[in-house]
Subunit: 349 residues, 2 copies
């Protein structure tokens, strides 16, 4: 099937570019001796996870137990879940998963560690737990090397847990300093930090500049998006994910309406201007959205589209866009090669 | 099952409130002789659509053919699709649907009308088409009564189409004026405007103040959200949809992290401050989101939550939240009564 026969809006992935993106990051990380553990929250598609592992990734990263369950069912054998897993029901699911695959998680509090330890004890297994620390972004994570060292010691003392190292996001200079200090604090206890997991796509080509970070988690690098373009980490020709839309209305000389809105692109701006880049009309601006309509200003475009014309959009943020589609169409040239269900979309946390 | 046993994040709907919301709007519209055609984009759940029809709605409104297909399969017999349906594949699906249910659509251009007419002719059926006009919001829609009248005449002349009236969003004073002028322009041609479809939830209790609007389309009124609260159309006790989340991290004395982020709440702000209202901590502010985390400032709260505590969030915009869940849990009091798949979520446009 030719891509022009696909109904819009449709999310397409150029398979040549996808493969090239996967291989390029793997090569770079291999050259620098950094472990690659890509984050599958971007695509949520088991076959792409397998492509990443086959290219050399040690395993994958998931953000929800539900994602990890889908990936385990699809045969992925090594999964990192950098999340504070809390609550009996979730802990039980986590332990069921830990029996089937090589699994590790994170914690940033004693509360989380206690829950993990109790669940692992009941399940009679040993679970590796990394300490999450805050490298400056103000999300989760302990705030100081002292807290990190204390929590590492707590993990070491906790039945059925193994201290798995440190984890942060993104990899940056703060992280290097933080890791160094934490290691020093733990040296006296004979506790070694065997793994430090960092990551991000925008800073992926600087991973080698952070000697303390031994593992890299990138997600968006497989697809690329406007945010990644702006960061300079990827070029327009690297973008594998696009959304084809149709101009369904031209109410005024300057305004055009696309058949994709906030339920296609999400409202994520990430500091960008407008809701996407229209490849055929780069001067156009998707200035507003309703749920199924994209409101576009074509006033700066010399030629303007006709009603019924199809236009190709690079979205602001690929991770949230793929999460809005039930399926993604893999293309080679102009031909449809595969239609992937977004297997882990909407999975339970 | 008690709601406290549900894993978080979970979207719950209070069924008593849902039923009350459905009945209250129906009663109001009945009193004023306004046709009720609720928009199911908000919930995308066939059973709720049936509740709306059983309460007295003439039928439903869908925003995508895929939604209409799901609703038709579930036994809904009267569907309005206020969208410019363009392209051969979509037109064919539309005609298949038109054979099974009472269906009407909109157009705001001759291009759309030509496509509809050709498809209806091939399918050997008659399709009602309403002219969409712009009441000031700058989305789709013809811009002037003259354009509306011209397009109505085109529809009347087009084989296998029937002019079904006028449609806009939202109902407002501009709309009344626009309809009045369009009717005058069409009077000479003997073309009557039998139906004028308007709508919105924020302005729903003013529907009777727009004498030219004969049909009301509201979506959010079934659930309510922070945006609807701010508009004054619904009170906090009317809100039927909530998202229960867990505090999974307390990195600092003031900061708390919820297990719901932009893939749970979307990034829709709709002019509001923060990403949701936490009922147990109304002074808290969800100031940021990552995909599976909500970053919350509890500094203004006298008591602050513990890790592991569950908190209940009224989201900014219910329509995009339900679109992110595979299922919605219907509760009565504290007990789970039904778990609904969000049947039309992610359906093809």
């Amino acid at each position: 099937m030719d891509i022009n026969q696909l109904e819009t809006p449709v999310a397409i992935v150029d398979l040549d570019r996808l493969e090239a993106n996967i291989n390029k990051l793997q090569r770079y990380l291999d050259e620098h001796g950094i472990i690659n553990r890509p984050h599958i929250k971007t695509h949520k598609i088991p076959e792409i996870a397998h492509m990443q592992v086959n290219a050399g990734a040690v395993g994958i990263t998931c953000q929800k137990i539900g994602e990890a369950e889908v990936m385990a069912q699809a045969g992925i054998r090594d999964i990192f879940l950098p999340y504070n897993i809390i609550g009996e029901a979730k802990l039980e699911r986590l332990m069921r998963l830990a029996r089937r695959v090589t699994l590790s998680v994170t914690a940033d509090s004693e509360f989380t560690v206690r829950g993990l330890s109790g669940a692992a004890e009941r399940a009679e297994l040993e679970l590796p737990v990394l300490v999450e620390f805050d490298a400056g972004l103000g999300r989760c994570g302990v705030q100081s090397p002292q807290e990190a060292a204390d929590l590492a010691r707590t993990i070491v003392r906790s039945p059925c847990l193994r201290f798995g190292g440190l984890m942060t996001y993104p990899s940056n200079d703060n992280a290097d300093l933080f890791v160094g200090e934490t290691k020093n604090l733990l040296k006296g206890d004979g506790i070694s930090v065997d793994l430090v997991s960092g990551g991000s796509t925008p800073s992926m080509w600087e991973a080698h500049a952070h000697p303390e970070i031994t593992e890299h988690r990138a997600g968006m690098y497989v697809y690329g998006d406007r945010y990644t373009l702006k960061s300079g980490a990827m070029a327009l020709e690297d973008c594998a994910l696009k959304v084809i839309t149709t101009v369904v209305s031209r109410p005024t000389a300057d305004r055009g309406i696309l058949d994709g809105g906030s339920k296609t692109f999400s409202s994520d701006l990430l500091g960008l201007e407008g809701h996407g880049l229209i490849l055929e009309y780069p001067e156009a601006r998707i200035y507003g959205q309703s749920e199924e309509h994209g409101h576009t200003d074509f006033s700066k475009c010399e030629h303007k589209p006709e009603i019924g014309e199809r236009v190709t959009v690079i979205p602001n943020h690929c991770c949230v866009v793929t999460n809005l589609f039930n399926q993604i169409v893999g293309i080679r040239g102009n031909q449809v090669e595969v239609i992937w269900p977004v297997g882990a979309r909407g999975a339970l946390q």
